[in-house]
Every structure is written in structure tokens, then in C-alpha cells.
Symmetry: D2
């Protein structure tokens, strides 16, 4: 009957006794002093008691003291350049095991030890994730703290190794305190509440998340999947609830059933959950694992594809419009695109009819040809193509939400994950920047108003 968290608390409190010896007396210790102590042998000897004090002290800091704390980590817990130089010279003189290890230790910062010890406390991992989230908020203004982040991020990359993550299916039978977090964390297509969530967990949907054992109730990332027939192209249709407002005689909402004949799994939303784990990537692993899981459960599935936003399309288009020398836009096109200036074009059948071929081709061009170095300009394209997916299909008016219109004129794209092509696609993409595309998409690129390949060199 007792909740787990209560046990942890009572035990952690009990651990306090370890700190009640003569050595400590009755003065309350500063966080700096606790951190220093935690890095010594005593940090280990006291079990997790000192680490627990650090966790509590950190949680109680206000914004100002938090900044001071990070500054202290930056100044007092970094590596010692003199020691590094000394060890480096010794290594240069006589490269070998001992000089290597000495250098290795010199390069290591005391922050790494400190963070590792904080991690030992109950809620230690959670605290470090919060700490990094706080730190990231400050990095813009205090770039010198980048070294602190560097250490913390390296530890997290090690700790959140794929081998330690567990894949869990999220369903309507999942505990409410976890589902509640999904509502808060959904980043692609906002959830409006429990009714919306319930529809996304119906029998014709699947949801999977990665968890880490040290963060029992906190998803790290989750993906939402629709089981449908053929590629789905419209996200509002996927999110609609066909049982809206209906209840049975006992007041229960009716269940939505999985329809026969489905052959495609559409990954229509992937959300990272932990700000403090930023740039530690889970998405690629998640997608591939879920493809395997789904194929296990449903051998009838023939295709696995995303229904993805194209976040950079409109801003790229604006730049092209602003650029008088753009080779992408001719006068007629520029003229037509003025229709976009009014937000009402989506409601106007004529405008939509006119815009469809032009925007579709431009978007295909954007995805296929617009680059940053040899990689696509669009960040979502970069991610999926880097994973070995191919561009399968563009979907006109796939997302007619305000956000969808704003970022990509309502266009959505399917990236297909065909396991057999993933390796080849990945290698061609990484080595040559080659973008894998479907035959259908191929036609859009061939027919672009402005044959880019020949013009770009100009």
C-alpha cells in the first residue's frame, strides 16, 4: 500500500544520521563545501548521504544562486591547465601507460567526479537532468559555462546509452501520471486533453516510448503511430475522434477498433521529453525498434513511414522571394505566391487550386536541393535521411493547423523506412549527400519549374 516514493524518502532521511557525527557538528554546510567533500574519498564512504544533501541544496537554490553555483563549477571544478601541460609534456617525452594515464586524469575535470557522485543520490539522475536544463537556459548569456555543459553532456551520453533504455508500449492501460506527461510533452501536434490522448491510444494506434531505469516515470522520447491503409497524408484526419461525444449505457466511451486491411504504419509524431537531455539522440533507435516491434505484432504491415512536418519550407521560400536573383522563382511564380500573403488562401478553393502545383514543386525542390553543406537544409529531412529513410510522398494540405500553414503552407511529407534500403541510403547520404527518393517524388523533382541542377553552377 505504501507508495515507493515514501520508502525512498524515509530511507534518505535515515541516511542523514550518517552526517550527524562530531565531525560535522551543528553548522549547516554550504553547497560549495558539500561539493568539495563529495569529491573526496569521504564522498564514497558516506554512502549516498552527502550526495543527497547536495541534491536537496541544489533544488533549493534561487536563480541567482544557481548562476553562482554554475560559475563555481566553471571556475573551481574544471581541469587544471598547468597540470595538463605538465602531463602532456611527460607523455611526449615518454609515451606509455603511466604517462598516458596521468594525462588522461589531468584532462578529466573534477566536475565529472562531482556529477558522478551526485548521480548516486536518490533522485540524483533526475536532479542532474534538471541541472542541465537550468544550465542550457543560461548558456546563451554565459557562454563560458559551455565547459560545464560539455562534461555533463558527455556523462549523459554514456549513461543514456541505448543498451540501458527500455522500450515500453504506452496505452490507455498505462498509469495516469505517465499519460499526463505525454499530454504535456507532445511537441509536434499538441494534445488538447485526455479525450485527445485517448483517441491516440485507441486500438488502431500505437504509442511507444523509451524509458531509462533511473527515471522510472519519465519518458525520454515517444512516438505515435497510426495503423492505416496506404500512406496517410492528412494529420487532422488521423487525430479526429470518430466516437466524439458518444457514450454507452454505462457511461463508458465506446472503443475505436482496428480496421481490417491496414498495411501501413504511419509515425505521425515524435517528441523528445527531457529538455535536460538535449542533443542526446534517441529518435533513430526508437524508430527502428518500433518498426521491428510492429512487424512482430502485425506481419501484415507492408510499409513504415512518417508523416512529417517540413519546418523550414516557408522561411526558405521567404528568403528566395526576398532574393531578387533567386534562380528558383520566375516572375509568374512570384506573382502567384502573393496569394500566400493572405491567411485566407486555405479557405479559398480557387487559391488552393492555383497554389497546389506550384507549392508542391517548390517544396519538393526545397527538400531535395536546398542544402547546408552537402546536407539538406530542412532539419527534419536531415534527421530521417541520415537515418537511412527515403522521401516517399508530398501531401498537399496535410496539416491545416495554424502552425502547419505557417511553417510549410500545410504541406507534410512521408519519409519511408524500408529496412532493406536503410544501410545503402545512409551510406550514400553520409558519403555523397545523395538523397533517397521514391519514383513518385522523383517526378516532382524532375518537373520543377526551375531545373536547379543546371542552374546552380551558374
Amino acid at each position: 500500500m505504501k507508495k515507493f516514493s515514501q520508502w525512498v524518502n524515509s530511507i534518505a532521511d535515515a541516511g542523514k544520521e550518517l552526517l550527524s557525527g562530531k565531525a560535522r557538528q551543528d553548522k549547516s554546510q554550504s553547497l560549495a563545501s558539500l561539493c568539495n567533500e563529495l569529491c573526496t574519498s569521504k564522498g564514497e564512504a558516506m554512502g549516498t548521504a552527502i550526495a543527497h544533501e547536495v541534491v536537496k541544496a541544489y533544488s533549493a537554490l534561487d536563480a541567482e544562486r544557481r548562476l553562482a553555483f554554475f560559475q563555481m563549477l566553471h571556475k573551481d571544478f574544471g581541469a587544471d591547465p598547468k597540470e595538463i601541460v605538465k602531463c602532456a609534456e611527460a607523455f611526449k617525452q615518454a609515451p606509455g601507460r603511466d604517462t598516458y594515464r596521468a594525462l588522461y586524469h589531468a584532462v578529466e575535470t573534477r566536475r565529472q567526479i562531482l556529477f558522478s557522485r551526485i548521480n548516486m543520490a536518490p533522485d540524483g539522475t533526475e536532479t542532474l537532468i534538471q541541472l542541465r536544463s537550468d544550465l542550457l537556459d543560461l548558456l546563451g548569456q554565459y557562454p563560458e559555462l559551455g565547459g560545464v555543459d560539455y562534461d555533463l553532456r558527455n556523462l549523459m551520453i554514456s549513461w543514456f546509452n541505448r543498451g540501458f533504455l527500455t522500450l515500453e508500449q504506452i496505452s490507455w492501460e498505462t498509469p495516469a501520471h505517465i499519460l499526463e506527461k505525454l499530454i504535456a510533452y507532445e511537441a509536434v501536434h499538441e494534445m488538447t486533453g485526455w479525450g485527445d490522448l485517448r483517441r491516440r491510444l485507441a486500438d488502431d494506434r500505437r504509442c511507444f516510448a523509451f524509458f531509462h531505469p533511473a527515471l522510472e516515470d519519465e519518458p525520454l522520447i515517444f512516438v505515435q503511430v497510426a495503423l492505416v491503409k496506404g500512406y496517410a497524408g492528412n494529420v487532422q484526419e488521423l487525430l479526429a475522434d470518430p466516437t466524439e461525444g458518444k457514450t454507452d449505457s454505462r457511461g463508458h466511451k465506446p472503443d475505436i477498433e482496428l480496421q481490417d486491411g491496414f498495411d501501413t504504419a504511419i509515425f505521425y509524431s515524435i517528441s523528445n521529453c527531457q529538455e535536460g537531455l538535449k542533443s542526446i539522440s534517441f529518435g533513430n533507435f526508437l524508430i527502428k525498434q518500433v518498426v521491428l516491434e510492429l512487424r512482430q505484432e502485425f506481419p501484415q504491415l507492408k510499409q513504415f513511414a512518417t508523416l512529417s512536418p517540413i519546418p523550414g519550407f516557408r522561411s526558405w521560400l521567404s528568403k528566395e522571394l526576398a532574393n531578387r536573383d533567386s534562380t528558383v522563382l520566375d516572375v509568374k511564380t512570384r506573382d502567384l505566391l502573393k496569394l500566400l500573403d493572405s491567411n485566407d488562401w486555405v479557405k479559398n478553393a480557387e487559391s488552393k487550386e492555383k497554389l497546389q502545383p506550384v507549392l508542391t514543386k517548390l517544396c519538393a525542390h526545397y527538400l531535395y536541393n536546398a542544402k547546408r553543406g552537402i546536407q539538406p537544409l530542412d532539419p527534419v529531412a536531415r534527421f530521417h535521411l541520415g537515418n537511412g529513410a527515403q522521401i516517399a510522398r508530398l501531401n498537399w494540405l496535410g496539416d491545416t493547423s495554424a502552425n502547419g500553414i505557417k511553417q510549410s503552407a500545410g504541406l507534410l511529407v512521408n519519409y519511408a523506412y524500408d529496412l532493406k534500403s536503410v544501410e545503402t541510403n545512409h551510406e550514400a547520404f553520409v558519403n555523397e549527400g545523395r538523397v533517397a527518393i521514391s519514383a513518385e517524388f522523383q517526378k516532382l523533382v524532375k518537373n520543377t519549374a526551375v531545373p536547379v541542377a543546371t542552374k546552380k553552377p551558374a
Copy 2:
């Protein structure tokens, strides 16, 4: 109904498809080539498929190829000394974020990346632990492999951080495949089989283990505790089964009940389980956590103490006997100790009577005064005193097993863990080499035949 391991297998097999693309063709790949590939960006892009191939390939190696594999890791996956020197010089010229990071990367070995990626596979962590166990067996003969071990050990220290371990109570309700491992792993007082184990898991006993989430069914370390009245001094009494040979009318063994009036928890056996996690220490954390758990369950507990072996006593004594100038032994004592030459002294009441005072004092002297640097010579003493425990009591004929007689003439010692003194004890021990002892033990040291403190300088 399906067992978990079957799921994992089917999924891992499915992952194989990822490797079936054109790029790979039909040739079966060498382990070296897989390892190289795993370290590239493709290692991540392929999800866990390549890592899984490496795991399978490693498991299939025979001893000779295993050695070759380790040699390859040593030679081809280490850090590049030239690159280190280059980066170190750049850092020396201009210490700063970029030069520091470059050096940091140069110091890092490809092995670390390789091991991290192997860890991503199903059974990856288990494979690495096995790999390190295999490696440790070779270190004596091939000391150059120490660098490979260094990298692996550093990763494991990070991954097996206390914050990721879970404490589990082991009981007679624990699954048999785990209990079976306890029988195999018990290192202090061997278990003779399931009957012996059952007695150690009765109501008047407790057993706790640390587990790591990536090794679901493998304890890392476990401790066995007896709930008794006052210090227990004899381990055979603790291990005896009062229900030996009894069964009830239904063929069930009767339960052993926890007796009223107990006030002491005796930690009579602590065993590390994983050879491949050698020198990654869990014991100190385990003891302190279990003290807190037990106090939570049984507020009536007044004392927490070990019943520990003294593994170095007899070999130290032999050296003193061999040393003609020993200040510890006088002629009369030397004479008396000849009784030890016969293994029968334990069965001889007179011999025992004569030996008791002499051996007890010598053993007290050994524990208290025999040093390696400023630390005790005895490794078990070093461990518990370093944790902040104190020497509480010596127990004559505490372990009359062949092994007990051989290593410590049957003597056992209680180290007491008094939470309130742990910090003070630890600091005095680490800083000054001061050994915390009870008033009772104090008398033994005072009365040692040979007042060591004054003689040692001589």
C-alpha cells in the same frame, strides 16, 4: 506466456534485415571489419544491428581468436600518440575550449567508442562483462592488454554508478534461476545446495543484492544477514538448520520463525558475483543501504555488525614465526604455537584451552597493528575500517571449517557499523590511519604480550 528472451531473439533476428542491403552483399564479415564499421556513423544509423553481430561474433570466438581480438583492440583501437602530442602542444600554445576539447578527444580511445556501441546490442552489457572477465584471465600473461582493460573498466565505473543500481531483497519467493546463481556465487561460506540456501532465506535471515537494470537476472553482489540477540560469534551456528530432515504431513519443510528479542543484525557473508566487474566496488554502498532498510523494517534493531573472516592472520603469523627477530613473539609463545602444526588441535580440548588466549591476543595485534603503509595489512579489515566501521569483538573458534582454521585459526571478527560514528571513523582512518575499536577489543590490544607501540620503532 512467451518468455522475454524469445522476444528479444525474434527482434534481434529481424534487425538482421537492416544488414541485408546491397552494400553488404553475401560475404560474411570479419569481426575486425564489424568493429571498424561499428565505430563509424553507420554504427549508429543501423540501430543495434551491427552491435548485435559483434556480440554474436565475439561469443563464437575460441580462446586463440579471443586473444587475437584483444591484441587487435590493443593495437588498432587505442589512442594515437602523435595526435595526442599534437593536440597537447596546441593546448599548451593556447589553452582554451577548442584546444581542450581536441585534446580530450585525442586522449579518448576508439575502444571506448567501440565498447559503448557494443553495449547497445541486446545482451550487450552482459557480453562486455564476459569480455572483461576473459580479458582479466589474460592480463597476467599479456600485460600489454592493460590499456584495453583500463578503458573497459572506466566505462563500467560510469555505467555501474550507484545511482543506477537497485537493491532487491532475495527471499525464498525469488525466482529459482536467480537463487541458483546465489548458490554458485557464494564466496565466503559455501552453500551445499538448495536446503542450505533455504535455511539462509528463512524468516530470521535477510538477504539483499544489488542488481543493474541491464542485467536483469544477475546479482552484482549480495549480503546475507542473520537477525539475532547480541553479536553472533560462530558462523556454523548461523548456518545450521534447526528443521533438518523434518517435513509436515503434506511433505512441506516446516518454516523457521524469527525469534522475539533479536536486537542485532549480523552481516555474515558478502559475495561479489561478476568476475567481469572486478575492482568496481559495491560493498560499501550495499552495507549502508541494507542497514537503513533493516532499521526501517525492524526499529528494534540496536546493532549492525559483520561476522567477518580474517584472511591474512595465519599467513602473517607464519611470517612472524619465520622471522627470528620478530618483536611480536617471545620464546614461550613460539613454543605454544607449535600446537598449530597438527591439524588436530581443534579437536583437542587442552590444546584449544592453551591456544585461545595467545591466538586471540596475537590476532588482535595483527588486526590493530600490522600495517601496509598506514593501513591495516588485513584486506577485510581495510575494507570495513575504510567504510567507517570499528573492530568490535574477536570470536574464538568462530569458523571451524577447514578454510576457517587454515586462514585464521578459526577466529572471526565483528566489525560494527554505528551510523553515527561512521564519518568520524572514516576520516580518522583515512587521514591518520587510526583504527576505531570497541572498549572490549581495547583490552585485548592493551594486554598484548608484546607491547608493540614501544617496540616497533626499535
Copy 3:
């Protein structure tokens, strides 16, 4: 990953093969024929296959056929009066084991066998509960079906024996598909949605339910408890959410904490969940078990009491007002009570002030003196007093919801469960109709405007 329900379905389908033998051929069987078959030895030999067919066939019935099915159960599956008379006469002639058993069997109906066999199917118990719920809806119009209900109810009393129920704590960590049912089933103070539910499951609240193993996800009854200081008298205060509209920086709702100093557990809502288990009583067992659970978790609890509606008060009062000879109401009181005719009295401070003493006394009189036989007229009073509780306190304007005003002029009552008095209270209540009351409530009864005790005989 596979959901349990899928297993059950696939297995049940597989069971179909058992029915595919020659004997059955291809004709689809009628429900009547299946029921007859299920009562024979074959019903058992086929495992659960025939029972499963009956379950499916019943679920597919429309209202008309359902009625026909119940009529069939009534006519064709009852006991045979001739057989009963025959066996009764044999018993009368020679009372003994064999004649007794023959009579026992004659009295038993085939319906009992049929229901027992249906129960063997997957979802069998659930189907029977649904079946009884359907049946109860028809009883008013078709009283002859009472015999069918009698058999079913007797079986359910046996199957839902307290010994087979498990008490579960319901919390915010409970799976959503169960929580959703609580929202639907709450019968006393309606839940407006997930936000309302979340508040009722906060740290200063407890919720417990009985479950039956055959109905894994269906609570049978649940009770909601508030942990407060002293008796709570106002239910709207208990239901209010102090964190209304607040969220933290990550979009999470803040937690409501349990306040120090609480000493009382208020049971403010008890709801039965299964229409089909009507008149099978769980409430008394639930309350007593929860008192014990709470005392275990919180030794500081001093009082356990309900905050209960008084559903019959206003209708009783209306009758008294309509009765010109009422000895309870004098002219002045009648005059004052006209204030109740307007629904606005609750918003009018003067009206409230005037009405409080009069309504409070009348309500105390109603609870204490208004009887049906020797038992209280009020059904909720009957329940709690029968359980051994005492009337502790009346609460003016304890429930100002429309329903609260309508049924009891906003008054609520606390029934206190003092374990030490339960037995005495129960016996006095059952044997003599004596109602246990607190000293505080005693004053209200003494001071009733109309000294009832002396007048009643009149």
C-alpha cells in the same frame, strides 16, 4: 508487447475447433440448443468452448430476443415442482442422507448449472453480470422473471464472497482505463472530468476499491477519503482544487501535499459500480478494511467518519408539512419553513440564519426518531448504524449543490466509526433499534422543538 486480451481472443477462437467435429456439422446452433447442451456432460467435456459460444450468442441478442431468452430460462430451466414434491415425500417418509440429497437436487434449478457453466467461459463472469443487469431492467415489467434473478443472485453471493475480493488503492498511478471508470461510476458527488479526479487522488486523499479476480479491470465499489484535521463538514471544500489552473515550468500540474496535523479520515463518497451486482453488499467490509489500512499507514489518525448525505430528509419533511396532524411541526415552524419554497434561500443570509436552528433540529429528529419498523427511515442512516457506526455531527450547508439542497436542504451528517464501539452499537441497533449518537448530537435531539418521545405514543 502483446496485450492480454489478444491472447484470450486467439485462444478462445482456437477453442472453436473443438466444436467443429462431425456431430455439429455446419448448421449454426440456436442459443436454446447451446444452453441445453451446456447443461449436459458434454458441457464439461468440451472445456470452455460451448460456454464461449453461449457468451457470444447472448452478447449478440437484441432486446426482444433477450426477453425471450429470459422467458426460456424462467420456463425451461427452473426446478420441476413434481420432482420436488416426490422427493419431499420420500424425505418425509425416511429422512436421511439419500432422501435429503435427492431433495436438495430437486430444489436446485437447471439455471444454476447453466449459469455456473457460462461462468467458465472467457469473460463469463462479466457476461453474467451484464445478464443480471439486463434482467433487473425487466423485473418491474415481468415479475415472473424473479426466479431467474433469485438463482443468479445466489450464485453471485457465493462467488463474490469477501474472501475472494482484493482491496486495491486507487491513485494517480493507476492505469487510465480504470480511472476512467471511476469518473463514470462516481454516484455521490459527480466527477466533472480528469482534473476533478486528479484532485481526489492527491496526497491528502485516499481512494480504495474492491476488485474481484475474474473482473480484473472493473472496480466493484470504491470509497473516497479525505485526510483532514477534525471532522470535515462541507463537501464542496473537500472537492475544491487549490492548484486550479496552475502549472509549473514544464507544463506539469503542481502536486497537492498532505498537510501536517491531520487526525481524521473522512469517507466522503462510497459508490457501487456494477448494476449487475445489485443488493450484493460490499460497503460494510470496505469501510472496515479501509479503516484498518489507513490506521496502518497513519498511526496518527484518531477519528474515522463519513460525510454522508441524508437523502430522505426533505421528502420526510414534505410529508410532515402535508400532514395537518404532524406532532413534529408547530405553527411557527411551519411558517418559517415557507422560506424553503424559494430556491433562493441559500443565497439569502437572513433566510439561512433563520432556517439553520430549525432545520438542524428537524433533521436531527428525522435521523433519530423517524422509523420504518424499529429501523431509521433514512436509508444511509440504516446502512451506517447497522454497521455499528454512531451519528456524530450534523453539518449545516455541508452540500450546497443543487442535489444537496434538494434532498436535505444542504445538510450533511458525519457517521463515526469507532472500532471499539462497533460491536456494541451493532447489537443494540439490531436487537433494540437503539441508535448510537455522540454527546454533541444528543443535545440536538434533546432540544428538539417538539419533544417527540412523549408525543409519539399519543
Copy 4:
């Protein structure tokens, strides 16, 4: 960390307070008085407190008092014959709902109420099963207690309805305290200890058990299955451990793997576990459910069959030998069968060779023709044929254990469960006594030395 049983105990103790009121004072109550009280309304009002007292009091009875307790149940808690006769006459006069219900109640004994209430206590169901086990031991000597057993058995049939049982797979990952019971309960082929059990739970074996939710840790019945190629005919081969005495480098026993090519599931042992549930049958349901489970897990399975003992063969044979007029045995056969008199025939190749054809045919005859009414004389045959199985194959020297030789001259038989024939087989067996046999077995019966069908009428 707290074990569940501890919770239950503390709560049950707490419930004691309910019995501490004035009404009870300090005298300790007799079991008779507690039982009477438990049957009144107070029995329910006190929650489970009185029932718990009864459970404790019963457990403390010695053999003599236990008998006295059963005698009391027989005399004081039975039905009242006068009341039965009165109600029966009323029913005869006016058969109808009210007279029926009155008679129904009159036929019900107070024991039924008492047992139902005892069942409400913690450990209530367990206590009643123990109570029935104790009672069955006494029935032979005290047949008048049969009525007490009749009531208890009827309740248990209701409570242990198939719909309330759960099928669990038993594996080497099952908790040891449950596995330990399997060792004790195995009734067909005795288990010699944990090593034997481990082999029976290896990857090429399956074990399933029925559990009841009120008896969490107690299997009711379990079946052991071997996955093999073709019918297995020898049980010692199935029980042999191919890894006997082997351990790997870490001290672990090697795993036995499931071999490719298996197509048959052999049910080689079915054991009932609870003496107190005697003659409440689970076996038929278990076999059919396990067939479905196995087919789900292994679609490659083509055949499901038992490897069963023939417990009555030798004793039937002895009777035939003793019967001079036996039509089954001719002189030559009688002569040959003298070989059986020496226990050594099993070790003698010549004896075995001579006996094989004769004993096999006689055994086939026994199984097929020896009857009790229209049913087979052999109880195991009766069970499986009644379930709808067919006799598939006789196995010479299938069980060479002392017991196997003793009861059936080492012969074992396979009963095949072909789902598609089960219904037809069952009906023919029940209605006409027809025994389903395989073509292979058919030959044995045709060729019996003595054509029984024609001789029996003689």
C-alpha cells in the same frame, strides 16, 4: 520490502479491536460460540474479525477436538428435518415463489452459511481446504460426517469454477517457494529434488498449473509436457538429464535447448495438489487449455498426447489368473506369465522378449474390453476417454521404475487429444461406451489371443 504476509498479519491483528467492546469482555470465547455468532448478522457486521478468530481457533485444535468440532458441525449446523417437512408440505399445497424459497432455505444448512463466513477471513479459503482434508481423513471411520463434507464440497465446486482459475506457466523463473511445492506434490513420477525439477523445466519441456486467486502460492493441479518428435514411449528417457553433472566455468549448469523438428507435445505427468479439493475436477480443463496454449506458442505442433500409466492392469491380470474360468487366458499364456513372478524378468532379455507380445495384447484387451458398466475398468482410461481422447499407442517397457513394473508390467499408453475428434469421441463414449482407438491400436485388439466380443456373452 515488506512481505505481503506481514501486511495481512498486522491488519488482521488490528481487526481484533473490533472484538474488544464491552459485549465481549475479557473471557476467551469457545469455538462453538464463535461459530454460532458468525452465523448471525453480527458475523457480517464485524467485518472479517470473527471469521478470523474462527480460523485461528480451528488451526489450534488437536485431533480429538477436531473430531468434536466436526461432530458439532454434523449435529448442530445441519438442516432441520422438521422445518424441511413443514416447508415441503406448504410447497405441495401451493407451489409458488414464496413456498419454493422457504423450502430452498429449509434445505440449506447452517454449515453452508458458516463455511461461507469462514471463507471471508484472511487465509479463510486455505483453512477450509485444510479443514476438508482433515475431514476426509475421518470419513472412513465416521461416515456420519458425510453431510458436512457434502456441504463443503458443494461450496468448493462453486468457488473453484473454471472461470475463476488462472493458468500459469511454471518455469525455472518461477519463485522457489512454489517450485518446492511441485517437488512435494508430483504424484505420477516422483521428483528426486531440485536437479530433477530443473530438467523438467528446461527449454524442451513445459509445465502449466491452475491457480485460484484466493490461494496465491498454491497450485491446484499441474501438468508436465515434453516437446518431442513423434510419440514418446519411455518416461525414463524423458526424465533423464543430458547435462547431468556438467557445469560451465562460472559454476552454472548448462541449459538444455529445445531441439528443432519436434512436432508432438507429450503430457507425461498430471498431478492434483490439494487433498482438500478431492473430487473437484480440473484435469480436463487443464489439458484442453494447455493444448491451445502450446499450439499458440508452437504452430509446428502436430500431435498432443499423454504418456500415461495403466494403474489397474496388473491387478486385473492377477484376478484373471486367479479365475480358472477366465476366457482371456489360455494355458500357454498362463504358463508364460509365470515369468512375472520373479521381479528379475525386466533384467532378463529372454524373458522380456517372450513376454512382450503377450503382455501387450493382454494390456490392449484390458484397456479396450475390461469394463465397469459400460465404462473402462482402468481409471486413467476412463478419465482421458471421457475427455474425448483416443487410445493411440501402447509402449512396451515405457516405465521401468519399480512402481511402473508393479502396476502395469512397465507398459505405458499414449492417449491422443485431437481437438477435432474430441466432441465425437466424447459423445460416443458417454452414450454408447464406445472407445476411440487409433489404427495402430486397432491391430492389437483384433489380434488378441482371445476374441473377447464373441466370448463375453458366453
